[in-house]
Symmetry: C2
Amino acid sequence: MKLDQEQGLVQAHLQKHGFRWTNQRSLIVRTALSTHEHFTAEQLLDLCRAQDPKVSRATVYRTLSVLEEAGFVEGLDTGDGSRRFEHVLNHEHHDHMVCLHCGAIFEFRDEELERRQEAAARRIGFRIERHSLRIYGSCRACHKTQREA
Amino acid sequence: MKLDQEQGLVQAHLQKHGFRWTNQRSLIVRTALSTHEHFTAEQLLDLCRAQDPKVSRATVYRTLSVLEEAGFVEGLDTGDGSRRFEHVLNHEHHDHMVCLHCGAIFEFRDEELERRQEAAARRIGFRIERHSLRIYGSCRACHKTQREA
DNA sequence: GTAGGTGCAAACCTTTTGCAGCATG
DNA sequence: CATGCTGCAAAAGGTTTGCACCTAC
């Protein structure tokens, strides 16, 4: 799926739900969609400001929260104080391993994990809206380095 | 295991690792150990201040981070801005479901989930230090209420 | 025309830190 | 008696909000 198409999808969804499609939102959405990294709000702001220096921090936060609510973007707590985001358009759900030494984030997916979570929720009558599995530790590169040091 | 015993364990560990055992730490540890809820730093501070009004916020934070490092306490991000803690003495590891409507936290445990996480990490040479699985959604009581409303 | 969105700056909230004095080992 | 700990208050860092102005629909 191309960027324009993806952006069109977001625009259509927002407009259908009574949100306006402003230049700022267009810029922020386009920027978020073309970033295949896990970005912080501040990083997204910087990227947007490279295009248009007068985008405000508040607008980036407000737009992120609209996008998150609409399900186009997911936030993940990395435990370092600030949240990171990733867009989930054209991305299947996955979980994360966070290296505590170099900050690298690895994605993985396991169907059985997903199924067992659903089963556990069903057992207590809990309805899942989303979930977040993060594994913390050290990546191969980092413990290799430690061993050499 | 009784509270005194548990506290003794913490004291022994900290002293062995060069930390001092002060009145404040004793109070904070005892309070944290006797709280079987998921508490925030602020709540723990309040509980401690009920015993001794001059305990400082900084000391609570500093002690929590010592306890976390030592593995007596685990922090979990609830996504609401502040971390929650729970002591893990005499508690086996478990994961959490967080109700987004009433804030209730449900604990569950699934051996197979643990095993598959380890397997996924092993595949990419990642060494796990800890992990956090949180499932967000609505608990049975909350969606029952919604349906009635 | 009128909701809703934006920019700015200030407010907020949680957590961390600098520092002078204090208490533990 | 040295080092680590505490309390205080201020700072830091991320996020939210009040308000006057602006703009998409």
